[in-house]
């Protein structure tokens, strides 16, 4: 065995190395040269899934329950197999809406429900504290084992327990690298780099242990298996202990690999590039496969060579006879435990601050008048809440482990945690595909699921510690055998855990679906449901505009500044103004798009529920509880107003369609009733009919175009497009119109054709529309000018005419699909054009030609290819 001081020094050196790696990772991230920008690192960091449970507990499980330990890794292998469908959608939704935790995800999906977010956060904390406790327990007991002490923890005072100091160092690590600053994306590259490194360490150490046992103590795999086969007592170790249990454990672990707080943190929040999922979909299962190869051999070797006095949970370490190897194995176990604890506490701290503490603080502006939303240092407050949460969670974990002592097995308690987070699956994964899911359905399912979880799974574990009378588990409450937690309603045959998972998920799903179907969705729920479910059908850009309040730009910016700093807040507003192409003075009222962007940025910092409450608080300057109600009513009103606008739109469109139809009908009847018309008159009327039919066709196409754009179903191929060639092609396509009306067309291109990052056909359609409008309004022998130029990240095309111009009051209205074109006859063309350029992140607006009120200039702003910015 190794002297205790050596173990301490090596452990501290290892933790120091972790700090160094995390520091380097953060430095590289700040310098823009990410250390973690690869699918391989992403897959390794996902392996935070493998904790002390895997490292020590699997062997213990194999020694007592046979191959069952494998289910915990087969589930993830299956889940990762279809990660291109499930995980990818989770990532897309979370990135688009700046979701940074499980609880935020639940809240945002169901109409920014604070109640649901809070419930998820609470379940996550309750479900994972025991799991954290087990990691500390593993560190504590293996420390004593490797340094030659007794394995039991009960006789060591708390202050002398290694686990306390490990917990404190880990708290320091999580606070330093997990809560260094409030970032809108909640990414921690340093932490991810350290976790990926830990995954390498634990894999190498475990393989070393396995190779030593198999080839050092035995003559290879075959020798070991044959020795085991010769011992009839070991037959159960290489068999399956009940298929019911087996099945439910696979289901459970497939959910857990996505829904455990640390897995969601690493897989979704810390994901830097969606393409990494592809690599991880096979590399992470491969990692799990490799780390599991030697589990059964080590378990068999332990059973064959060690006496019953040695706990199977410590076989990995107990079999090592060289002290250097024992030390390496201990460090591997340390890395498995620390990785889990670090990521789990960071994930929990985001949840607790976003979904439990902030909403509560924001709800009660009791102390001191204006309320929390007006405090200047909210960003620091959020960070402080998170740091305290990390410390509290770790101390809770330590306390739990000290109180329960040796009563709990690594795997049993881990499974209870898995089953707790599996309760999230119906609401979170179901809500990702089913729009009809409601907040009440999610609340009902989750509540019932977690109650059954507590009864069937948690209580029997607690009974082992003596916290709950064991008779309840053995005989059922009040001796009612049907209510025995582990054999509820007499269900047997799939093991205690399998039955508990079955009952809790069954009731959870049934209530989730039933209550959702029975109730109605609020407008906020319906809106967010569509945003989540249809993520792939929506183009980025204008999202929901469910916002009816009025707030000056300056007030909104100041609110944001309190969380992300003045500089970042100002940058967001400036960027927005640049995109709109219209100056936005501080005292002007913010448009819905800006409000939405600020809310999204705040969501990254404090979660969706709090972000919505904050924006509502500055927008309405009313107490928050009321503000939320007002807002919901406002959304309903807004939907009604949308209906009214749609009626108006239909009226406008039918009027536009009626005009050509009137001419066509009149001439059809004239030709029918007057067969004696002179040939040239007939020809003239037929020509009119042809022209009007063409006009009708064009209008119908425009309505269809608009419908396609509005529903986001237009498909674009965005490439680098040479604007000179597009402009020249558009000019030659409309040349006849210009010649007919004797209007001159000047084309002026700045330098060698500027490039834009757009869909060529889309831009062509916009240019054709602008040119034909221009020629229509320009008097004969007038002039239309087209100028193309590129400056500071935007390519601009100006189309100027000599027409009557557009009065300032109409300059936005003419782009509105609901209003009749002020210039007359432009119909829907301008509305469609603006929608098209907005699809590529471009702008379209109109201004005076020379400032004298005559003539109009339509300016198209288009994004340039990234490398030329």
């Amino acid at each position: 065995m190794v002297p205790a001081w050596v173990v301490v020094v090596v452990s501290l050196a290892y933790l120091g190395l972790l700090f160094g790696i995390a520091h380097r990772g953060d430095q590289r991230a700040a310098a823009g040269r990410s250390l973690i920008a690869s699918g391989g690192v992403y897959a390794l960091s996902l392996a935070v899934y493998a904790t002390s449970w895997t490292y020590y507990g699997s062997v213990g499980r194999a020694a007592t329950r046979g191959l069952e330990f494998l289910t915990i890794y087969l589930g993830p292998a299956l889940a990762m197999g279809c990660s291109a469908i499930v995980l990818q959608k989770l990532i897309r939704v979370s990135k688009r809406y700046r979701i940074t935790s499980l609880s935020d995800f639940a809240a945002a999906r169901y109409g920014n429900s604070r109640l649901l977010g809070g419930l998820v956060a609470l379940i996550a904390v309750v479900g994972t504290v025991p799991y954290i406790a087990l990691q500390l327990k593993a560190v504590s007991s293996t420390f004593r084992l490797v340094s030659g002490g007794a394995v039991s923890t009960t006789d060591v005072p708390a202050y002398a327990d290694t686990a306390l100091y490990v917990a404190l160092v880990l708290a320091l690590f999580a606070i330093l690298f997990g809560t260094a600053h409030l970032d809108a994306t909640e990414r921690h590259e340093g932490v991810v780099a350290a976790i990926a490194f830990e995954s390498v360490v634990k894999l190498v150490a475990f393989l070393a242990a396995g190779l030593y046992v198999t080839f050092g103590l035995f003559g290879g795999l075959t020798d070991l298996f044959e020795a085991a086969a010769a011992t009839p007592a070991l037959a159960t170790a290489v068999a399956i202990d009940g298929y019911g249990n087996w099945f439910w454990l696979i289901v459970l672990s497939a959910f857990a690999v996505l829904l455990l707080p640390r897995q969601f943190q690493i897989a979704v929040v810390e994901n830097v590039d969606e393409r990494h999922v592809r690599t991880a979909s096979w590399l992470f299962p491969l990692y799990l496969l490799v780390i599991n190869i030697f589990v059964l051999p080590i378990a068999l070797a332990g059973l064959l060579t060690l006496g019953p006095a040695v706990s199977p949970d410590t076989y990995v370490l107990a079999l090592q006879q060289h002290s250097a190897l024992a030390l390496l194995v201990f460090v591997g176990g340390l890395s498995a435990a620390t990785g889990m604890v670090i990521v789990e506490t960071i994930a929990l701290s985001t949840m607790v601050s976003n979904s439990l503490v902030m909403p509560l603080l924001l709800r009660r502006p009791r102390w001191g008048g204006p309320g929390l939303a007006d405090r200047g240092d909210l960003g620091r407050l959020v960070l402080r809440i998170r740091r305290v949460t990390i410390l509290v969670v770790l101390l809770l974990g330590f306390g739990f482990f000290r109180i329960t002592g040796d009563a709990l097995g690594l795997v049993d308690m881990g499974l209870v945690s898995f089953a707790a987070v599996a309760q999230f699956a119906p609401a979170l994964l179901g809500g990702l595909w089913w729009k009809g899911a409601t907040r009440n359905g999610a609340l009902a399912g989750l509540t019932a699921g977690i109650v059954l979880w507590a009864y069937t799974l948690l209580m029997p574990e607690l009974a082992r510690t003596g916290w709950v009378p064991e008779s309840i588990v053995r005989d059922g409450p009040f001796g009612v055998a049907l209510l025995r937690p582990q054999e509820l309603f007499g269900l047997t045959g799939m093991g205690a855990v399998g039955a508990g998972v079955f009952w809790s998920l069954l009731v959870n799903v049934a209530l989730f679906v039933g209550v959702s179907l029975a109730g109605r969705r609020t407008p906020a729920e319906a809106g967010n449901a569509a945003l989540f479910v249809d993520i792939d059908r929506r183009t980025p850009g204008p999202g929901t505009r469910f916002y009816r309040g009025s707030v000056p730009v300056a007030r909104l910016r100041d609110l944001l500044a309190r969380f992300v700093g003045a500089e970042a807040a100002a940058a967001l507003v400036t960027e927005h103004t640049a995109r709109r192409g219209v100056p936005l003075p501080d005292e002007a009222l913010a448009d819905p798009e800006l409000v939405r962007q600020v809310e999204t940025a705040l969501t990254g910092a404090v979660g969706p529920a709090a972000a919505r409450a904050l924006v509502a608080s500055v927008a309405d300057e009313e107490p928050l509880g009321m503000a939320e109600v007002v807002e919901l009513v406002g959304e309903a009103q807004h939907l009604r107003e949308l209906d009214r606008l749609k009626d108006e739109f239909v009226a406008t469109v039918t009027h536009e369609l009626r005009t050509p139809l009137t001419a066509i009908r009149a001439f059809t009847e004239i030709l029918r009733d007057n067969p004696d018309l002179p040939t040239e008159e007939r020809a003239r009327y037929l020509e009119i009919m042809a022209t009007e039919t063409e006009r009708l066709t064009r209008m119908v196409n425009q309505v269809l175009d608009l419908a396609r754009l509005e529903s986001g179903q237009a498909s674009w191929q965005v490439t680098d497009v040479d604007l000179r060639s597009v402009v020249e092609e558009a000019a030659s396509a409309t040349a006849q119109l210009f010649t007919d009306k004797e209007v001159a067309l000047d084309v002026e291109v700045d330098g060698p054709g500027p490039l834009a990052h757009v869909d060529r056909d889309g831009v062509m359609q916009v240019l054709l529309n602008l040119l034909s409008n221009a020629v229509k309004v320009t008097p004969p022998s007038g002039r239309v000018r087209v100028a193309v130029r590129a400056d500071d990240g935007t390519a601009r095309i100006d189309v100027s005419d000599d027409g009557p111009g557009v009065p300032p009051s109409d300059r936005e209205l003419i782009f509105d699909r609901f209003r009749r074109g002020a210039a007359g006859g432009t119909g829907l063309g301008l509305a469609i054009s603006r929608r098209i350029v907005e699809q590529f992140g471009g702008t379209l607006h109109v201004s005076d030609c020379g400032g004298d009120g005559r003539g109009a200039t339509f300016t198209v702003g288009l994004p340039v290819p990234a490398r030329r910015r």
């Binding site: 191959l67 494998l70 087969l74 292998a77 299956l78 990762m80 197999g81 279809c82 291109a84 469908i85 795999l221 075959t222 020798d223 298996f225 044959e226 086969a229 037959a235 290489v238 068999a239 399956i240 298929y243 087996w246 099945f247 696979i250 592809r278 690599t279 979909s281 096979w282 590399l283 299962p285 491969l286 496969l289 599991n292 190869i293 059964l296």
Partner: protein, 62 residues
């Protein structure tokens, strides 16, 4: 849904069937094959095939 995604789902579903009752029970026998326990070797073999199949499919991309 793209063809690659459909194939990924199919492969995963097939693996899930191989990992559970009743297919699994066919291999749950106390025999050694090439010195390895049958069910143990079977599970790792299916697992390895799943990894390779997913790797090949996801490299092809969407």
């Amino acid at each position: 849904m793209s063809r690659v995604r459909a194939k990924l789902i199919a492969v995963t579903a097939l693996a899930a069937a191989c990992f559970t009752y009743p297919l699994l029970s066919l291999f749950d026998r106390p025999t050694l094959v090439l010195g390895l326990p049958l069910v143990w070797a079977y599970l790792f073999a299916v697992w390895a095939v799943l990894v390779v199949a997913v790797a090949v499919l996801s490299r092809r991309g969407d």
